[in-house]
């Protein structure tokens, strides 16, 4: 059984038509801003300074407060994604999507020793309080799941929170999809980012989609599609450590890695997800229930307290008449159900 992520299949065709109608063309143009925000741990710990991508508010004033991973970008197979970025941070930033091809223009600087060194993988948005905006584009999008992240000083800017998910197309067998983005926060590196040093990286908070489960409380809920409907699980690791997402329930069918389809799918209840990796899996819940999804590397702590961390509840809704199914609407790069 060969499986492809192409959106040219029967249902993918319908999806493509829908996307064409909704976006008036196979392109997705969004405006983002790189901003400083805070993330408040669920255990009542002090708010942590973060950098993140948000929908561009048009200027660097009146920014929202709380940090989350950047908004999900839903690209169209063979279409174009262009992101116009405003920079509200104190240093230059840029945007890259590992796995999607585009022309990169690395930026260099001359260090104290007179050596020319690379600072960024591609052209940057200067740190000018949001005055300049710069556009990044990717053509002929390949179906799959990708991370978008800062391409400038990534050892600092990515752990600071400058990352998000890009989805392109959807497997023809899936009725819906969900992003599960794994990452970590080491508060010690967030106090004064300019002086941050990743060599002592020891995260205290382990997140899925920007949320860390609070020990002793019900875990964060992720919409898990509908009973008897196949769901495409999109696993991404924006952190620096390896994680092993594990589902307590039916097996997953792993279909793609880094946006490349496997020649044959793999039946597993868990996924090896190293840093920077994306995995696509199909999952068909057979009962209306909540299924625990957690990191079997046991990053299931919240500031050292066990029972939290990388743990969500994948809530499967009841079977639903297909005729009432409302496809998600793309609105500024965010999926509004």
């Amino acid at each position: 059984m060969n499986r492809s992520l192409s959106a040219t299949g029967k249902y993918g065709g319908y999806l493509l038509v829908l996307l064409l109608l909704l976006t008036a063309g196979p392109s997705l143009a969004v405006n983002l801003a790189a901003v400083e925000r805070t993330w408040t741990p669920p255990d009542g710990g002090a708010a942590i300074r973060m950098w993140g991508f948000v929908e561009d508010p048009g200027s660097c004033t009146a920014l929202p407060n709380s940090w989350l991973p950047g908004p999900i970008q839903q690209g169209v197979v063979n279409g174009t994604l262009s992101i116009t970025l405003r920079n509200c941070l104190s240093e230059p930033v840029s945007l890259i999507i590992p796995g999607l091809e585009t022309n990169l223009t690395p930026q260099t600087f001359v260090d104290a020793g007179g050596r020319t060194r690379v600072r960024a993988f591609t052209h940057e948005v200067p740190a000018d309080n949001g005055t300049t905006v710069v556009t990044y584009s990717w053509n002929n999008l390949r179906a799959g799941t990708y991370l978008y992240q800062s391409g400038s000083h990534p050892a600092k800017q990515v752990p600071m929170g400058l990352y998000g998910a890009v989805t392109v197309g959807r497997d023809t067998a899936a009725a819906n999809d969900v992003v599960l983005l794994f990452s970590e926060i080491d508060p010690a590196l967030h106090g004064a980012a300019e002086a941050a040093n990743a060599k002592n990286y020891k995260p205290k908070y382990y997140l899925i989609n920007g949320q860390s489960a609070l020990p002793g409380s019900a875990p964060p809920v992720v919409a898990g599609g509908r009973n008897q409907k196949t769901l495409q699980l999109r696993f991404l690791n924006a952190g620096l450590m390896t994680h092993v997402p594990t589902i307590q329930g039916p097996y997953m069918t792993l279909i793609a890695e880094d946006g490349y389809p496997y020649p044959y799918p793999r039946q597993q209840y868990s996924v090896l997800l190293p840093a920077g990796k994306t995995i696509d899996a199909l999952w068909s819940p057979d009962v209306q229930a909540s299924f625990a999804l957690y990191d079997r590397r046991l990053s299931m702590t919240t500031n050292g307290t066990p029972g939290g961390g990388m743990l969500v509840s994948l809530n499967v809704a009841k079977k639903f008449p297909w005729i009432l199914y409302v496809p998600p609407i793309i609105h500024g790069g965010i999926v509004v159900p």
């Binding site: 205290k204 594990t246 044959y264 868990s270 079997r296 046991l298 299931m300 307290t305 066990p306």
Partner: protein, 446 residues
Amino acid sequence: MTTRFNLTMQLSMAIVLALLFQVSPLQARIDGITGTNFTLSVKTGRVFTPDGGSILLWGYADGAGPAQYPGPTLIVNEGDTITITLNNALTVAGANPAPNVSILFPGQRAEASTTDPGVPGILTSEAVPGGSVTYTFIADHPGTYLYYSGTDPALQVEMGLMGAIIVRPSSGAGFAYNHPDTAFDREYLFLLSEMDPRIHEAIEFDGPQSTAVGPYLANPFPVVWFINGRNAPDTLDIPNLPVLPNQPYNSAPMMHPGERVLLRVIGGGRDLHPFHHHGNHSRIIARDGRLLASSPGAGPDLSHEVFTIKSVPGETVDAIFEWTGKGLGWDIYGTPADGPQFVHTCVDGNGDDFDDTTHEYCPDHDKPIPVVLPDNLDLAFGGFYSGSPFLGTLGSLPPGEGGLNPHGGFAYMWHSHTEKELTNFDIFPGGLMTMLIIVPQGASIP
């Protein structure tokens, strides 16, 4: 790419062997408990490490028995309804009560029974201190699985609450799965794990409410590594050793040339342990209890060879290992030039390049070992050196040397390829390591 085993060849070899040597085709079964109804109890115990360490254990016990690290290996049959009652007999230091405990069964659709439901937990139903919970599941797929605590797993799995499950296929005990290409002659379990003793010490001193344990749990730094709950060299000792009351399982793989050995490799801890087996490559046939098959019923046609098994936390791997000495380029049974006792034949009646009984690789027959053998005066000795480089031969040794290798077998180190894990608290050698001993045909294997 499709690769298939030559089953006919393997079966014919096995039949010839059985006739000539009266060798039972199934030996060296994995230690464990069998049945459909199990009673496990969570208790404390001690894990002893070869550096002299003694680490507090929270372990699953078989009923009234002692806590075990790992928990009892549950060996069940495909299709059976399995019932597991878990008693919480855990005791802890400090003023706070013992925690709830539980079991997760990845890959199984386990449910708590209506008559003994326990209390709801975040990941599964739990047993309160002094209480119990009963789980049931149908072992509807053969394969290698594991179980572990679903209550604060970051702490409780570290403390020792994990174990293996083997579901034997309806095809019979000589098969890993319901396909002839999964047949094996022997099988061994390699349940890999690690411990950070700081966590165990904090729990031992202050109980679960220890304030010291948090930073260790957030960023563990293990310093001891285990196969089947033991560190090398204890891995090689006999099972059920009285001085290791909470570590009943060993890891001492042995085989004859030409046999198919099934390796059941489980990531029981929280770290990846690349499991490197010297001697030959192995062929991965399944992961997470599912054959690497291109379609249902195709058998392990997507199997592939590796020399390091990627063992992922919470995942399982089944691999077939074979060894004949093929490719060494010299005669492992010696040549006439080495002495009259080494004169032997290599009879390849079926044209597979191997002797039909010893599995000697005939193209290398009578090829000399390509080194000048050193004099005993130039050697340092270990207990496993037989005194001879030739399989099944015992050479002369100084008084008091040798003795651990009475069949003149070959020893291959099997170990974590994360080399720092070959230590016991910074003392080399030790840790996640054992030795495969290959003994000649006819030598008994326990």
